[in-house]
């Protein structure tokens, strides 16, 4: 096959490259690569850009799959000597950054590859598709190229992208593999034999703090990579997740003699116990590992939140969470209780998604199928709706980052300690379990380890879990302390960045867009949200019948202040008054009319209060305002309202002395209010009747037109009938 000469060239090139600089290596690579590219062009015409982390991970995975025999040396050497001594089997253009790829002579064992792929937890058809696409079927084996392409496709599929060659062009998170531990345990029962997925180790270096400790446990960590993979498809890059797992597993193997930062390790160790014990059994490990990984990911989240997941659509950002929590509160003030189905249905229907889609989203998010949404379920559902509105296709299953227990832990993020054993909630434990006592965890882990050696049955797993649960339960007297804290946390979280909710992340805007139908964006409210609480009350009353539960009270302190300052300017500049109001009108025009009328009354009340001294300016202002409404009656009701107010005020003003007598203005105000109310009511009624008249007149004319047409048709038909009749009579 073509691979033969390429392989020979590859190895020759490898030798040559080892000795020389990159340029000759590149030349050799080009020579070897071109021949191989000819072979590869058929099935993999697309360049395969690999980042450094991906490169290392893939090479490790590949080495692992190939390494039935003692290729540990080659794999370790491959990991260590990253730059030289390898030939690119692909054309130079295909390689991202001088990434090392084992020579084409190395092929991955099909069974191991198959196991690895199955561990990615993708459906079988997808895996078939991937193997076909990467070309392994065509060439008959899994060479490095095919393997890397396949890994990339797996990553793409797990991210929810379609399985196509084009998918691998973009930046993808690493593929995640579940339950590899099974294979490794079975095959590599002896730790010495374990060739790690040393891809963990590079990621270790990417981690901020505790990785220095990891170096110690490197050897033992070789076993742990098998634990690292995570199950659920769309998730953010998992490197950080793998590391803690590997570390913890390594600790287990080494008998846990290395104790570093207590909570961190304790968690991992404890989690690891669960992993290995369950490892030899197919169904349980995915759940456990998913839970493990979830908890660890949550634990890592505080460290990673800054620099990761920019493109993960299924991860809820802080601001989004705040927004969701606020929306939840608007529907259900008690954060620990849940929203009933009908309430949620009304709320989500406003998002203007179709009912089948909403039904599907509900199905995804209501995991306990009780017809009600708890806070995490609600956030997940809301997030899915937002994502759908932004065009993301709905996932087949609930992403891991949207699972309720994950979200629950995420909500408790400030209490980092509690993040850990939330994973156990999967095994029917309550959320928020926190191991405080390292010793107890150690004990249980020792127990677990001892049981590891014995062949474990499913029942044993349950027993172990029960044991662990009980031990952990003992270890957690302070559990409850977290719970009261959490609502406070949420409150503080909510209150603190309230102003941030208007930030400019695209999803924020999308959310605001989504919420446009249910809730008018708070900004226009600013025009109404004056210092007077009266306004707010009226605004709320207006909103409630309009069934917009999402409408939150406008930000309490900030907006009124600028507006109040604006008011003082209004006196000097007439237009400035009317301008802030009309822009605020259109969105809620129909709804806010009536309250605005009263609002305006109150505003006018304020006006005299504020503008007592420059009363003359107001007088001059009011005639101007009076004119405006006359010219544009329908669109500027505010101004019109100003008119009667101002007229009334004007009547009063001359009678009032120039002294700023606020109390005197007040007696006038109520009287004026009533009469103006009546006037306004009449005016609105008149306006409505006029509009109705116009509409009916139009309708009438249209119907007349139709009637004429029908008449004509009838005449034509009658003519035809007459023409035909003489014939039949005869």
């Amino acid at each position: 096959m073509e691979q033969g000469p390429a392989a020979a060239a590859g190895t020759a090139g490898a030798v040559g490259a080892a000795a020389s600089a990159s340029a000759p290596a590149a030349a050799a690579a080009a020579a070897a690569g071109s021949s191989l590219s000819g072979a590869s062009a058929g099935y993999c015409p697309v360049p395969l850009p690999l980042s450094d982390s991906e490169q290392q991970c893939y090479s490790e995975l590949f080495a692992r799959c190939c390494c039935a025999s003692a290729t540990s040396s080659s794999s370790s050497s491959s990991s260590s000597s990253s730059s030289s001594s390898f030939v690119h089997p692909q054309p130079p253009s295909e390689v991202g950054r001088g990434a090392p790829i084992p020579g084409p002579a190395v092929t991955a064992g099909a069974s191991q590859v198959g196991d690895l792929f199955r561990a990615s937890q993708l459906p079988a058809e997808t895996l078939h598709q991937i193997t076909e696409l990467c070309g392994a079927k065509r060439v008959g084996y899994f060479g490095p190229t095919q393997f890397y392409v396949a890994l990339k496709l797996i990553a793409a599929a797990q991210s929810g992208l379609p399985v196509r060659i084009e998918s691998i062009k973009c930046e993808l998170p690493l593929p995640r593999f579940m339950a590899l531990k099974n294979d490794s345990e079975i095959r590599y029962s002896n730790p010495a034999d374990l060739h790690g997925l040393k891809c963990q180790i590079p990621y270790v270096t990417m981690e901020k703090n505790s990785f220095k400790r990891m170096d110690d446990g490197e050897k033992q960590e070789t076993m742990s990579p098998t634990m690292s993979p995570i199950s659920s498809p769309p998730s953010s890059p998992s490197n950080y997740q793998r590391v803690p797992l590997t570390y913890g597993y390594g600790k287990l193997r080494s008998g846990m003699d290395q104790m570093h930062a207590a909570p961190y390790e304790a968690r991992q160790v404890a989690l690891q116990q669960e992993g290995p014990t369950a490892g030899s059994h197919g169904s349980k490990p995915p759940r456990l590992q998913a839970s493990l990984i979830r908890s660890l990911s949550v634990e890592r989240e505080p460290q990673e939140s800054n620099n990761n997941y920019p493109d993960d659509p299924w991860r809820i950002t802080e601001e989004q969470r705040e927004y969701y929590i606020n929306q939840f509160k608007s529907l259900q003030p008690d954060l620990s209780s849940f929203i009933s189905g009908s309430l949620a249905k009304n709320f989500f229907t406003k998002s203007k998604l179709t009912i089948p889609e909403l039904s599907y989203i509900w199905e995804l998010s209501d995991v306990d199928c009780d017809g009600a949404l708890t806070l995490p379920e609600f956030c997940a559902a809301f997030h899915l709706i937002v994502a759908r509105k932004n065009g993301y296709p709905l996932p087949e299953s609930l992403p891991q980052t949207l699972q309720p227990d994950y979200l629950q832990t995420a909500f408790l993020k400030p209490k980092r300690d509690c993040a850990l054993f939330d994973s156990y909630s999967e095994s029917s434990m309550t959320v928020n379990q926190q191991p405080r006592d390292l010793n107890r965890i150690e004990k249980t882990s020792m127990k677990e380890k001892a049981e590891l050696t014995a062949p474990a049955q499913e029942a044993n797993i349950d027993d172990k879990q029960a044991l662990k649960i009980s031990s952990v339960d003992e270890a957690m007297p302070k559990d409850l302390s977290v719970d009261p804290a959490t609502p406070k946390d949420l409150n503080t979280l909510r209150a603190r960045p309230r102003s941030r909710s208007y930030s400019n992340t695209s999803l924020e805007e999308a959310m605001k867009r989504v919420e446009e139908p249910p809730t008018p964006p708070p900004r226009p409210q600013k025009s109404h949200s004056r210092a007077s609480s009266l306004d707010l009350n009226k605004v709320f009353q207006a909103n409630a019948p309009a069934a917009k539960p999402g409408l939150l009270p406008p930000p309490p302190a900030l907006p009124p202040r600028p507006f109040v300052s604006q008011i003082s300017h209004h006196n000097t500049n007439n237009d400035s008054i009317s301008q802030p109001k009309p822009p605020g009108q259109p969105p809620g025009y129909g709804d806010f009319r009536l309250p605005e009328q009263t609002e305006q009354v109150s505003e006018i009340e304020l006006h005299p209060q504020l503008t007592r001294t420059p009363s003359q300016t107001e007088e001059s202002g009011s005639p101007v305002k009076k004119d405006l409404p006359h010219t544009q009656p329908p669109s500027k009701p505010i101004r019109r309202k100003f008119r009667p107010e101002n007229q009334v005020m004007e009547n009063q003003e001359p009678s009032v002395s120039g002294t700023s007598s606020v109390p005197t203005s007040k007696p006038h105000a109520p009287v004026q209010k009533q009469s103006s109310k009546q006037k306004k009511a009449i005016q609105t009624a008149i306006r409505k009747n006029k509009e109705a008249n116009a509409v009916l007149a139009r309708l009438n004319s249209e119907l007349q037109q139709q009637l004429k047409e029908v008449h004509q048709e009838r005449i034509a038909l009658e003519n035809q009938l007459e023409q035909l009749r003489p014939v039949t009579v005869l």
Partner: protein, 139 residues
């Protein structure tokens, strides 16, 4: 093996009907339809006393030479009908009961969805998956 599973509403129209070999779909539809009579018969016979005493699982409705038809009624008069291939003799009553129980649970999950209006056709993917697993696994 379950070749056809149907969910019939109270008013005797199908909410969900699915059969495995596609070519006999019409035949199974007809079978299910005719079996409704038997269901009504059993329900009226049993339910004279008190509804509580009536068991939800109706058992074998009637056998033909190719297949057997089992029935199950919920308290809200929603009927589940399952057509099972006679060649699979290993299927015991208990297994059929457990299958109906699973169906019932999935159906209640569907009902819990506030976006589902009772009386609509069932489009829930979770329900579909469950039915698929039942039809395939028993195969």
């Amino acid at each position: 093996m379950a070749v056809c599973i149907a969910v019939i509403a109270k008013e005797n129209y199908p909410l969900y009907i699915r059969s495995i070999p596609a070519e006999h779909e019409l035949k199974f539809h007809y079978t299910v339809h005719t079996s409704l009579d038997v269901v009504d018969e059993k329900v009226s016979a049993m339910g004279k006393a008190l509804v509580d005493q009536r068991e939800l699982y109706l058992g074998l409705l009637y056998p033909t030479e190719d297949y057997k038809v089992y029935g199950y009624v919920t308290n809200s008069k929603v009927k589940f009908v399952m057509v099972v291939d006679s060649s699979n003799t290993a299927l015991r009553d208990n297994e059929i009961r457990s299958m109906f129980r699973k169906l019932h649970n999935s159906y209640t999950d569907v009902m819990c969805n506030p976006f589902y209006n009772p009386g609509d056709r069932i489009h829930s993917r979770a329900f579909d998956n469950m039915v698929t697993s039942m039809m395939v696994q028993v195969c």
